[in-house]
Symmetry: C2
Subunit: 205 residues, 2 copies
């Protein structure tokens, strides 16, 4: 549908919204009209929040997580185990792991995974800074927590080869049947790995 | 999931996005991270588009459609038939009717429909301005083009009663089986109306 907008300003706003992933022209129009019905202050608060974020956000110099300061809350926390580094793709993964409250180490955010199809090579990611970080010493173990996809495995392997000689321990998240899942519905590969990597029966978590 | 955000600025931006209709915290996070990966100028252009729209947008003084000027493109077009007024809920309906290229009259945008459940009464809508417009003369026919819902019918009826004595012609959009639809899948009410309101067979549209 080739629609004519009654206002150039409206068209511009709809265009900007429809650039967002998963948002088409119709949804963009709905969102813009919703915002138009709000107070002027609410709309300015919306627009400024994202501009301010982009302008003022910092990335932690150690782990490259998003932060309001030069060193993020996790890296600057003396109670965390700084000898244990979990390698993740992006800050959403950091938040997901933090939400489990099971991890007391620190992170290293790669900013993506190696994906030649999308033109992302090792130099586009924070891999060199990870190697430098390991070589600087003080790190006993790195945990690979990337997606279990072809790209994730490639990235794991690439980093493994780079760190192999450093003598640091390397581990990977355990894979298996999800908690609460019925066996009959688990896929074969996952179930197969669950059996091969079975753990000792414990009466506590 | 009670997530801890690594940055206050990030949390603020995610909060603002998740206020939009149909957008939850997870989608908001995805959109904000997408914007963070864009250039600074692209992000400012996004934020400013919506702020500028809200600050500078005007509503046509005649039909209340969104406009960049005091009188909208349609109302200020001398080639449109100003004696024919189509009553619609919002500007999306104006755009939908304009896209058909079948209508040469002008519009009156109510800004909603009467909906006591949502606390929207006649005085919250541009109904009085419609009555004034009809009473000022020069209008021969008004076309009701509101939703065929309870609220739409209520609004139609309310306006009908108000305009009854003005002597203006009043019509309503024809309802019937959609073009391209199979009869077997049309709902009973629509199909029933299609039979009752059948039109003379014509070999042209």
């Amino acid at each position: 549908m080739n629609q004519q907008y009654p206002s150039v300003l409206l068209e511009k706003a709809v265009d900007e919204f429809s650039k967002l992933p998963g948002i088409g022209k119709k949804t963009a129009m709905r969102l813009v009209l919703h915002l138009l019905r709000q107070d002027k202050s609410a709309v300015e608060s919306f627009g400024n929040a994202i501009i301010t974020l982009k302008r003022e956000v910092k990335y932690c110099q150690t782990c490259h997580n998003i932060s309001d300061t030069e060193s993020c809350q996790i890296c600057s926390n003396p109670q965390r185990d700084h000898s244990l580094v979990c390698i993740v793709e992006n800050i959403r993964d950091v938040m997901a792991i933090e939400a489990t409250q099971q991890y007391r180490g620190v992170y290293h955010v790669l900013g993506g995974i190696i994906s030649p199809m999308d033109g992302i090579g090792p130099s586009d990611l924070e891999i060199q800074s990870l190697i430098d970080r390991v070589q600087a010493g003080g790190i006993k173990e790195v945990i690979f927590a990337l997606s279990t996809t072809m790209e994730g495995d490639t990235t794991n392997f690439y980093i493994y080869r780079k760190l192999e000689k450093s003598g640091v321990d390397m581990s990977v998240l355990s894979r298996g049947v999800s908690v609460g899942d019925e066996l009959a519905y688990a896929d074969e590969v996952t179930l197969g790995r669950s059996i091969v990597n079975r753990t000792k029966f414990k009466t506590t978590l």
